[in-house]
């Protein structure tokens, strides 16, 4: 465990911030303040944070429809995100994108994406930019277990390999694509697929921040050193439905409660760092309070923000036309 105290605090705060953000979106959605399709990342925080902790602003990530966690981990402004999800003018995309299109290219967040499997090709492009312009950057595509079956994803493994791109594919396997079990939909295995394309493939427990962080450091290090792409298969749990409103009847009774009770990434982290006396419970509690306050503020600001002006309908289609 090579993380210093500051890094540990940051890791915890990022995970907690994602969790609190998602819990709030869950509540606000139920209360009727949010429209559209919203896919929550609660339960999967260790993956986004474990990877993004190893990145800087020269690095890029491409996300999925379940993009809030990746966005926060990569450094998107949570107030802007909340405003966006509420469809307000203070939103990160001015209210034009919504939950599924949160992006901030300036900090290397290439966007949540409404199209399953669209991220991997795009991230190959970010990696190509890094390689061509010698920025030193690496690029990570987060992909769901469902998205791992999309041809666009599979092609990208090969392109990354033959172009020797600094790319990491992170398969976030939460067991389901919508209602469909990954144990059914994924023929073979994620790591063997990687090897089939000549990529080193790793498995990791996605509930365990430290495990994720360790493998992330390794594959990112390799990519940064010009040694090419890798794939990481992280098993993890989504706490809520596929989207807000999903009854999740296809899951086993108590399935996600059990994961929450036994394999929660925040609990595991807290236990680990306090038992090893790396951090104090007080410090973590303070973060919890700070984060809660921030989410309160973000929510209040989003609700108070005006809707986008109608003229916004017509702008931003082209730079010039």
């Amino acid at each position: 465990m090579q993380l210093n105290r500051e890094e540990l605090l940051k890791a915890y705060r990022d995970m907690r911030l994602i969790r609190e953000f998602e819990e709030r979106v869950h509540t606000e959605f139920a209360a009727g303040g949010i429209s559209g399709s919203v896919h929550l990342y609660a339960g999967e925080e260790a993956s986004a944070v474990g990877f993004c902790m190893n990145l800087t602003e020269v690095d890029h990530i491409a996300s999925t429809h379940r993009g809030h966690g990746h966005s926060i981990a990569k450094g998107c402004d949570v107030k802007g995100m909340m405003g966006e999800i509420f469809g307000r003018s203070n939103g990160l995309c001015g209210g034009k994108g919504g939950s599924m299109h949160i992006a901030d290219l300036e900090i290397g967040m290439m966007g949540a994406n409404g199209i399953v499997g669209a991220g991997p090709p795009l991230i190959c492009g970010a990696a190509l930019t890094a390689k061509t312009l010698k920025t030193g950057g690496v690029a990570i595509a987060f992909v769901g277990d469902g998205g791992s079956n999309q041809g666009t994803t599979l092609e990208s493994y090969n392109l990354a390999k033959v172009w020797n791109l600094p790319v990491i594919f992170v398969i976030e396997d939460n067991g389901y694509a919508d209602t469909t079990a990954s144990s059914w939909s994924v023929g073979g295995s994620q790591t063997k697929r990687a090897e089939g394309f000549g990529l080193p493939g790793y498995r990791v427990d996605g509930h365990d921040f430290f495990a994720v962080h360790k493998v992330a450091r390794e594959v990112i290090g390799r990519a940064r050193a010009g040694e090419g792409p890798s794939l990481v298969h992280a098993r993890l749990t989504r706490y809520y439905g596929h989207f807000e409103g999903d009854g999740t009847t296809y899951r086993a009774a108590g399935e996600s409660d059990k994961a929450r009770a036994e394999r929660d990434c925040l609990d595991i982290f807290r236990r680990r760092v306090t038992e090893a006396a790396l951090l104090e419970n007080d410090q973590l509690d303070a973060i919890d309070r700070e984060v809660l306050g921030l989410i309160d503020e973000a929510t209040a600001e989003a609700k108070a923000a005006p809707a986008p002006a109608i003229e916004q309908l017509f702008t931003d289609v082209y730079l010039s036309y």
Binding site: G95, K96, G98, G151, T179, T180, A181, V186, Y250, Q312
Partner: protein
């Protein structure tokens, strides 16, 4: 006969045809749901519950859940259609066409022509389209003009529950590839629908009303909006014909031309992006064939040339509304 939602009408059409013909199979992502999962099977019946109940009745052999691989399974549906099945594949949102269009437009659509008439491809692709549910740019598009552009495809846009049932049964019995568009904001809309199977032929427009002053040609959900506008206009003494072409390919050119000639004033309403869309298609048809009868410029009511925005107010401003249709009709009536 009973009141049925569009959701029910479509479900019933599928069930009836599956009972009638063992070669009819349906497939798609979560088309039943819970595949391989520990909990409820048939958990969703598609994301909006349209196909719920089919799997329990017909089994997993005929109600096939798929991995997220639209090229593979839509292509498989095309290949199955060419070899003896009559598959109904669900492309969850038409916005996803970009990952599988080849199998539709270069394969299924062209088999018969490329092979010199020696292929029969009774494929139906059901797909959701349209704005109105805050689903943003990648889940709200119409895109039927793209499919209409392709020779070899038939394109269906039902405007109500009655229409949906009859047109879907026709689509399943049809021997050519058919793309069947379901507007995601309309599933709950109800009307009286017969319980038994019936078909509505393709290429025969429906006149939802006839009037003397202005002819409105509208597609899919816009038929409803056109009728709402016509109701209001009626009160001000402007009487409209509303033409619902039902299918954009084949298009009932004769009825459209005839109705354009009758009033000499035409408004076309299309929820699709404005360039190279059905509004331009119908306008050009009329101008080429009924020019002499036209008394005023043909007006098109469409969204602006922008992606579909997320925020509710923006999305409302994006969609052609009954108010915009009304204004266009007034303008054309006065011209």
């Amino acid at each position: 006969m009973s009141r049925k939602s569009i959701r029910q009408a479509i479900n019933e059409a599928l069930a009836l045809e599956m009972r009638r013909d063992a070669r009819v199979v349906v497939m798609g992502e979560d088309i039943s749901g819970g595949m391989g999962a520990p909990g409820e099977q048939d958990a969703w019946g598609g994301p909006l519950g349209v196909t719920k109940g089919l799997m329990p009745e017909f089994g997993r052999e005929r109600v096939l859940d798929t991995p997220i691989s639209e090229s593979a399974f839509i292509g498989a549906a095309a290949g199955a259609a060419a070899t003896g099945l009559r598959p109904v594949a669900e492309l969850m949102f038409v916005d996803f066409m970009g990952v599988c269009f080849d199998q539709i437009f270069n394969q299924a659509a062209k088999f018969r022509y490329m092979f010199g008439g020696k292929a029969v491809t009774p494929l139906v692709v059901r797909t959701m389209y349209g704005a109105g549910l805050s689903a943003a740019s990648q889940h709200s598009q119409c895109l039927y003009p793209i499919f209409t552009h392709i020779p070899g495809l038939k394109v269906v846009l039902p405007s109500s529950a009655y229409e949906a049932k009859g047109l879907l049964i026709q689509a399943i019995r049809d021997d050519d590839p058919v793309i069947f568009f379901e507007h995601k904001a309309m599933y709950d809309e109800e009307e009286e629908v017969p319980d038994e199977a019936y078909t509505i032929p393709f290429g025969e427009a429906n006149l939802t009303r006839e009037g003397d002053d202005v002819t409105i040609v509208a597609f899919g959900r816009m038929v409803q909006f056109a009728n709402q506008a016509a109701d209001k206009l009626e009160k001000d003494g402007i009487s409209c014909t509303v033409v619902d072409p039902r299918t954009t390919s084949p298009l009932d050119e004769d009825t459209i031309i005839e109705m354009a000639e009758e009033t000499g004033r035409v408004v076309i309403v299309d929820e699709a992006s404005p360039r190279c869309n059905m509004a331009t298609d119908v306008s050009a048809l009329i101008t080429q064939n009924a020019f002499g009868a036209l008394k005023a410029p043909i007006k098109m009511v469409t969204p602006p040339h922008t992606p579909v925005p997320f925020a509710a107010d923006l999305e409302r401003a994006y969609i052609p509304s009954p108010e915009k249709i009304e204004a266009a009709v007034r303008e054309v009536a006065a011209a």
